[in-house]
Symmetry: C2
Subunit: 189 residues, 2 copies
Amino acid sequence: MKKSIGAKTILYPTPVLIVGTYDKTGKPNVMTVAWGGICCTTPPCVSISVREATYTYGSLMEQKAFTISIPPEHYVKQADFIGLVSGKDTDKFVATGLTPVKSDVVNAPYVAEFPLVLECKVIHFHKIGIHTQFIGEILDIKADEEVCGEKGPEIEKIKPFMWAPDSYRGYYGVGRHLGKAFSIGKNPK
Amino acid sequence: MKKSIGAKTILYPTPVLIVGTYDKTGKPNVMTVAWGGICCTTPPCVSISVREATYTYGSLMEQKAFTISIPPEHYVKQADFIGLVSGKDTDKFVATGLTPVKSDVVNAPYVAEFPLVLECKVIHFHKIGIHTQFIGEILDIKADEEVCGEKGPEIEKIKPFMWAPDSYRGYYGVGRHLGKAFSIGKNPK
């Protein structure tokens, strides 16, 4: 039997995206975004939702550019910290020891230590409610050599993690391989 | 060293969402959506991106309602199959043996066998490129008793899975618990 648990924001898996921007003085900042994901194949686009109260919101409006760095599981503490404090008061790169690198395609910094980076230009934004959704066109992806196999990035080498936006709020790594998409379901029963 | 791999749609983790709609004759249909996720906390909203060519697109426009059922890992074959065929030609409930249930809050069906369901009313949609993004306000969530603990749904009981939208296209389960959000990062070094 299913029971009603009310109008909540529970969905699995939910990503942990480290969004990099420059503020109006050119200072690099990062924020942790869980409300986001790919939203279009052609052109390749990703959406991120950000509250107006955040420091990143102003920088996104100013620069119309951002990066997404995917943290690997051994950086879970730093990714969590980046979501706990504001760039208004704290230099999060200094506080975490992470290294900002300027993207060569958009005016935004990414995190050198994280193995996969999306470089995005804001092409739309719209206020939904408390969150404003920014749509970024992905202009390039950068990946560390060590996380690439013959055909490109490999999730098992990157070791990204997810967040469970329920009352238990756990972070979880990637589990076992279950099968190949567009293949395992050919005989569905 | 990071290398450029081009403008692609690679992001980890990416969800596997089973979107349920009724067509204009009232026939239930499901589609597999990977481009989606929570996009606003208040009101609670989720976004899904759907191509105009799909059967679901017409039903979303007609009904302005949908559900998202989260498949557990032992239904990975069925979830993959639902993404391989069109509701135009195939009754996917019959083909998979899954059971449609009408939501009691929106005019859309969900999958009885899947343990967590979001019931959504379309409040916005906008064409980004090949995909149109639909924003659904979450009016209620239904969960099976067996996947709930004292504080509500638990990811370890639901056993959702993710998709890796890279060249290897694997499905992966949930891995080990890494820590608690808004907590583990208090001391980031």
